[in-house]
Symmetry: C2
Subunit: 202 residues, 2 copies
């Protein structure tokens, strides 16, 4: 899973002003101040003193710009595609296996740690993470999960995955941290499967 | 759940040096440098230049001193007692209900956020949290949970609870954050029940 936006930027040329980096800084301030819905490519362009077409050229859509600002090291839309393409009764296994694979990559793990740490100490960062997860992940799969409470079910699955990462990779509880991946998947997959496609409790 | 150690300290008297606070600072450095097992009341007393009996007087046992250093706003041993006293088939419900009750209290939530944030950015803090959870919570309930893999099962239950707190109270995913407590419990309790007392998968 490579970041879709990465190849679109020309990178910094020696001697050239880092226009792409400046746009990201301006966009970060806009998203933090106005939230996702309140921010527009046009508004970012105005604040950065560039043409909106340049932002589209560098980043693509507003979603792409947002991912670049968040510096998310994989494209959550790849994750959505994976879920949508998975056989109904294997989705729990596939999701937890893919998630663990991301956390096993040190550069991705570093970035995830940074994002979670920011969310714990900074309300604006928590709001951006909430928006990113809701818009790019949970909303995109909700209908596929369940016609009534798909978003709640997606949140619950997300809660188990976030906690698994905290317990296994951050706090490193033993024996969970050194349990083989396949064994962890065997424990966690049924939980995800129930949250996503099981009966509503009560 | 009140902190058992709190009533043992005499508190700071006006004009008196804050011996209790100084011992906590020294003990924090000792635990961070040597870990839980490598730290002794005798060693802390030596480093602080006080008699070991004074530390016992202020704090009680090494476990109590450790909890005071971690500034944990409730006694995890109360949680253990609750789990041990719960009817076998209600333990999932009782554990998640108690856990959510702690997170609903703002002073406890603030401290939990601080502990999780430290664990994300500081390896020594992560090690202390790992030690605290393992020693005072997971080890204490492991035998009661399962004779073979009680500690792994306790870790898994902990992972769901940590992730639930992150999703509901820190990132505040919607609709999970505004879902009534009883509904959240109905979703999460079967997961804990399976981790703690369900069949081993595979």
């Amino acid at each position: 899973m490579s970041r879709a936006t990465k190849s679109r930027g020309p990178g910094r040329r020696p001697g050239a002003p880092d226009t792409r980096g400046e746009i990201i800084e301006v966009a970060r301030a806009e998203f933090a101040a106005r939230g996702f819905e309140g921010t527009s490519i046009r508004g970012v362009a105005r604040a950065a003193g560039v043409d909106p077409a340049l932002i589209h050229h560098y980043f693509g859509s507003k979603d792409d710009l947002f991912l670049a600002v968040m510096d998310v090291p994989f494209d959550p839309r790849d994750f959505v595609k994976l879920m949508v393409d998975s056989p109904y009764d294997e989705v729990g296994t596939i999701v937890v296996r893919t998630f663990l694979g991301l956390w096993e990559r040190s550069e991705i793990q570093q970035r995830f740690r940074g994002l979670l740490g920011s969310a714990l100490t900074n309300e604006a960062a928590a709001e951006l993470m909430r928006t990113a997860l809701t818009r790019l992940l949970f909303d995109a799969v909700a209908d596929r999960i369940h016609e009534e409470d798909g978003r709640l079910r997606a949140n619950l699955a997300g809660s188990q995955l976030i906690g698994l990462a905290m317990a296994r990779y951050v706090i490193r509880l033993e024996p969970l941290a050194s349990t083989p991946t396949d064994e962890v998947i065997a424990w966690i997959a049924p939980t995800l499967q129930r949250y996503l496609h099981g009966p509503t409790p009560g």
